[in-house]
């Protein structure tokens, strides 16, 4: 018995798609979870990492606009200017979607460097917004989360790969 083509298509689009919003909500929670003052400046860019992962793996489902929406949500819940995070996230999402075919085939070390560059770009745009709106500029420790981010990337990629295969998303 062959199922009609349309229903197969629907299945392909919808199966496991809930994993994307769930992972984004988790990342948002991690962004606002209280941390001790000593470690708070090292908080990794969870949302940027998860956004990059989905842009890399499913660029048809998760693109610049989704990244923009995710960034806007982060702006809302963290009380920053609307668009402050959304701008950086949309830019790196655009770069990833453009380069996903190449970046997906990179060996892990090279891909991690690629991710690091994008994380730095996100921070740079964020810094530019801070400067342009006259908010106090942070110290050098501001860049530390990108390093933590690339340490996390292989693990995050492994976990999300496994989960998406399990729910049939990829």
């Amino acid at each position: 018995m062959r199922r009609p083509w349309r229903s197969v298509m629907n299945d392909r689009v919808q199966r496991g798609a809930w994993l994307i919003p769930v992972s984004l909500v988790l990342a948002l929670l991690l962004m606002i979870l209280p941390m001790p003052d000593s470690t708070a400046p090292f908080r990794p860019q969870w949302l940027a990492l998860v956004t990059l992962y989905w842009c890399l793996m499913t660029p048809t489902r998760f693109g610049v606009f989704s990244a923009f929406a995710a960034g806007l949500t982060l702006d809302l819940i963290s009380g920053s200017l609307l668009g402050q995070h959304a701008l950086g996230l949309s830019v790196i999402a655009y770069a990833t979607v453009e380069l996903h075919q190449r970046a997906r085939l990179f060996p892990l070390s090279q891909q991690t460097l690629f991710i690091w560059a994008l994380l730095l770009v996100e921070r740079l745009i964020h810094l530019w917004v801070l400067g342009a709106t006259g908010q106090p500029l942070p110290s050098l420790i501001y860049w530390a989360p990108t390093l933590i981010g690339i340490l996390l990337w292989p693990w995050l990629r492994a976990v999300l790969n496994d989960l998406s295969h399990r729910v049939g998303l990829l």
Partner: protein, 273 residues
Amino acid sequence: MCALALLIVDHRFDYLDRVRTVLSALLHPLHLAADAPVALVRVLQERLTNEAHLRAQNLDLSRQNLLLNARLQQFDALEAENVRLRELLGSSLNLGERVLIAEILAVDLTPSRQQVMVNKGTRAGVFVGQPVLDANAVMGQVIRANPFSSIVLLITDSDHALPVEVNRNGLRSIAAGTGVGQELDLLHIPKNADIREGDLLVTSGMGERFPPGYPVARVKLARQDPDNPFMTVLAEPTARLDRSREVLLVWTLNPRIPQEDMAGAPTMALGHE
């Protein structure tokens, strides 16, 4: 492009405040979820405290209560006397304030601003510009009121300034936040002003936003710098900005301050931006 436009609009104008309020109310569960682990730990701590500790605490509190009551007796008499004297002078005094206790949600907001989120919002009557105190002193003011929560800008934020006076001699100044830790900067203090380390600064009530007479900070450093036409004065807030869990939201019942008292005083721009 969208993000850029949004940034500019949000920074320069306040059209987006309503949108932000509605969306923030929708996202409130996220804040509660982030607060949940901390709240759980606190509940467990309360459940697990032993009897001896509770006894000791009870004893301590009743002792403190006695002391405070004793001081309050004096305070009543002093207040009555103060009212009488002011009546003689023909000026009005704002009597009494209504307060509401709110809890700070354990949520980390954007690190570039000094702000906290509390669990009371417009539903409880909170409004933008409302003063926020803790048990010791002034903490800040509400800058954004959502239905279920609101965001408080602390006095140490670099965008915040409030009019203060030295409790000892009534010298007026403006305490501006520095954005770095526990520090306030007193602006435009003349070189010959009588201000010393350890002086208590209280709100002067001149901006008509904070009720007068609440403690704000203690002078930490008063120094003459050759390159500065004014005196360099730094003060440390007496409110425990990073440790308080409960805060007081204040409604001033009679916020009008007699203008004739301040004839000739410059109008001060105060508060957020």
